[in-house]
């Protein structure tokens, strides 16, 4: 009897162990690029392209990190990136939600045409509009400031997010609004107190996309910012990628430092993400 139980227990342990080994292998293969990046960030210049490749660095070249921080004015660029990302995120999430609410719940003449117009801007590649838009901003003297990067978002949000949120808002039952109206709420209160709280998971998703998008954006800051002390991290990091020579050590070290906030935000947001799912579960 006991031996049978032991066997069962052992079998369970064996199965769990195998599962862990398998999961471990999978996560290792996913993590490998990151580990390689960390290893490269610690290697000396000539070792990076050694053949055969060597995973373990030849001693720890922490100077790659100090070079990444000093040669490109890392903390100033970090601050600039954070400011742009903050305003971008704010407009992407709240203004898009506001516009999407309008498209989801209000009836006005030409609504479908307006919505199609908004959608059609998604199809337009950015390269097509880049030069005319640049000329526009240059006429009003906004070039070499963060304004062209953050202000447009406050006049309409981002079309993709508007589309996503409109679909999400359409799925919210009308009854909730009706009962709120009976309680004396106006449209704005309904948006603020019912739609937004119910859409937390969607908003968080958009926030993550928006954060990632503007944290990693290269072209926007490249086109509009001229002074080095206004640059963002992506611009700073690409300085290590020269036409003749790529400084892999500092490039990887800087990339890791730039990646940290993204990782932290992702872990924080992940928790909220799960909470958001729970919250929306109540609504039905």
């Amino acid at each position: 009897m006991t031996s049978y139980a032991m066997g069962k227990k052992q079998r369970r342990i064996a199965r769990t162990a195998m599962l862990y080994v398998l999961l471990g292998l999978f996560s290792l293969s996913t993590l490998f690029p990151l580990l390689w990046m960390i290893s490269t960030s610690l290697k000396s210049g000539d070792l990076i392209f050694e053949i055969p490749p060597r995973f373990w660095p030849d001693g720890f070249h922490w100077e790659n990190y100090s070079r990444a921080v000093t040669e490109i004015n890392f903390f100033v660029l970090f601050k600039n990136t954070a400011v742009i990302t903050f305003f971008h995120l704010l407009s992407d999430v709240f203004v898009s939600a506001f516009v999407a609410y309008g498209f989801a719940r209000f009836h006005f003449p030409g609504k479908n045409i307006w919505f199609l117009l908004v959608l059609s801007t998604i199809m337009l590649p950015g390269e097509v509009t880049m030069i005319p838009v640049f000329i526009g901003f240059s006429e009003i003297g906004w070039v070499n400031s963060i304004l062209p990067l953050v202000v447009p978002g406050f006049f309409g949000g981002a079309p993709v997010f508007i589309f996503l949120l409109r679909q999400f808002f359409l799925s919210i039952p009308k009854e909730l609004e009706e009962s709120a109206t009976i309680d004396g709420a106006n449209s704005f209160t309904i948006f603020w107190r019912i739609f937004l709280p119910l859409s937390v998971p969607a908003l968080i998703t958009i926030a993550i996309f928006s954060f990632q998008g503007s944290w990693n954006d290269l072209l926007g800051p490249l086109i509009y910012l001229n002074d080095e002390d206004k640059f963002t991290l992506t611009l700073g990091l690409s300085m290590f990628k020269g036409i003749m020579k790529v400084e892999w050590g500092p490039l990887m070290a800087g990339s890791i430092l730039a990646l940290l906030p993204v990782l932290i935000v992702f872990f924080l947001a992940q928790r909220h993400f799960v909470e958001g799912v729970k919250l929306s579960g109540i609504k039905g």
Partner: protein, 413 residues
């Protein structure tokens, strides 16, 4: 609740407004005083550069020194760390062009023909620190378009024939010399090619260089197509002969290994690449270099970087002087300088290249760039698709040339 949202919006708007004032102040100040206070103060001039990280710091230090000495101008470095030409073109289109811009040689005719660059000759003739005869002629030529100078070269890296001395000695083959012909190159290559090892890596060599070797070209200096001249055909046939001789790994294989890596790891014995490549420091074998092989003429390709002046610069006379000062200063910084006087720098700044200084000088004297055309990008694409690839695949050279010329005529008509 409504109030709180309105408040939130007001905070956002005021924050933007604040940012706007800062932004406007900062963006306006570098340009506007230059226009209004020109007679009184120094002319402010922006230089666009692709230099990054420590190269950028070195360039900024160089510019700071020039600014200290200058009485009539003040240079300001504008770093464009990525997508250099995209940003440059956007700035030019938005009438925000920098006063000076670094360009790779093939962009000069395009930018000049679009009116983005200022012709320099009328100013250069009056500047005493500009010495046209100090430049190697091939380097100065790439800055010209329609017989006008539009840009001054600041670097010229002639292509050299690097060789792995250990492999030559092991195979008992005589070392390359500056007088080698392409036939010598093939003969030595064949002795060095055996299982897993090749005589040479030739992916780097621009196809046009073979035509130059026999006195031909793709376009002549006036922009006429000369690709079908007997000299050009002879050069291209030599190219096909080299490919057929089997001394080089095929292009796909060499490219997948990374350009030059096969030479670095001792898989090929000869490599044609820029004089500034850092083989001496990174390889474990003894490395040497000579001027690349010749046909009927000794000539080599050179990677040439130039600085051009924008046609929108406010005070072109002062700007041209600043351009000459800056270019002269870069010749004392960058290796390999496109000038005879800049040559001594190699010994001090790249001591590992000292053994080859005379060879590099010899190469610089015969080095040249392409006779670039306003639509050079399309032309390069056509050469690759209709000339280089077919020749490598064994298509009859004359047939490939005819096809290429047909495509050229569509492009330049």
């Amino acid at each position: 609740m409504l109030l709180s949202l309105v408040l939130a919006f007001m905070v956002v708007l005021s924050a933007c407004g604040g940012g706007g004032n800062n932004g406007n102040g900062a963006s306006g100040s570098p340009d506007k005083p230059a226009e209004s206070s020109q007679p009184a103060g120094k002319v402010k001039l922006k230089v666009a550069t692709w230099a990054g990280a420590d190269e950028l710091r070195e360039f900024e230090a160089l510019v700071a020194k020039l600014n200290e000495k200058a009485t009539d101008y003040e240079l300001q470095v504008q770093s464009i760390p990525a997508d250099y030409y995209q940003k440059l073109q956007t700035m030019i289109a938005g009438k925000q062009a920098p006063d000076f811009m670094w360009l790779s040689q093939e962009y000069v005719p395009q930018y000049a023909s679009l009116g983005a660059l200022a012709p320099l000759d009328e100013y250069l003739s009056g500047i005493s620190s500009f010495h046209a005869d100090d430049y190697f002629p091939g380097a100065l030529d790439v800055g010209k378009f329609n017989n006008q100078t539009y840009a001054l070269p600041w670097i010229s890296q002639p292509y050299m024939l690097y060789y792995n001395q250990d492999m030559f000695e092991k195979a008992g083959v005589e070392l390359p010399t500056n007088d080698w012909t392409w036939d010598d190159f093939i003969a030595a290559g064949q002795k060095l090619t055996k299982d897993g090892e090749w005589g040479a890596l030739i992916n780097n060599i621009p196809t046009a260089m073979y035509t130059w070797s026999y006195g031909g070209d793709v376009f002549d200096k006036d922009g006429n197509i000369v690709l079908n001249s007997p000299e050009s055909i002879q050069g291209l046939e030599m190219y096909q002969k080299i490919v057929k001789s089997g001394i080089a790994p095929d292009r796909a294989q060499a490219d997948s290994m990374g350009n030059g890596d096969m030479f670095k790891t001792g898989k090929v014995a000869m490599f044609i690449g820029g004089a500034g490549d850092d083989f001496e420091k990174t390889v474990k074998f003894k490395v040497g270099m000579v001027v690349p092989p010749k046909g009927t003429k000794q000539v080599t390709f050179s990677w040439i970087g130039v600085t051009a002046m924008s046609s929108t610069t406010k005070n072109p006379a002062v700007a041209a002087k600043a351009l000459v000062d800056m270019t002269n200063a870069i010749h004392q910084w960058k290796v390999v300088a496109p000038t005879k006087s800049g040559f001594d720098l190699i010994k001090t700044s790249r001591p590992e290249k000292e053994y080859a200084v005379e060879t590099i000088r010899k190469a610089s004297e015969v080095a040249r760039g392409f006779n670039n055309q306003p639509k050079q990008a399309e032309i390069d694409g056509t050469i690759w698709e209709h000339l280089t690839q077919p020749i490598e695949n064994g298509v009859d050279v004359k047939k490939a040339v005819d096809n290429t010329i047909k495509k050229f005529q569509e492009i330049i008509k």
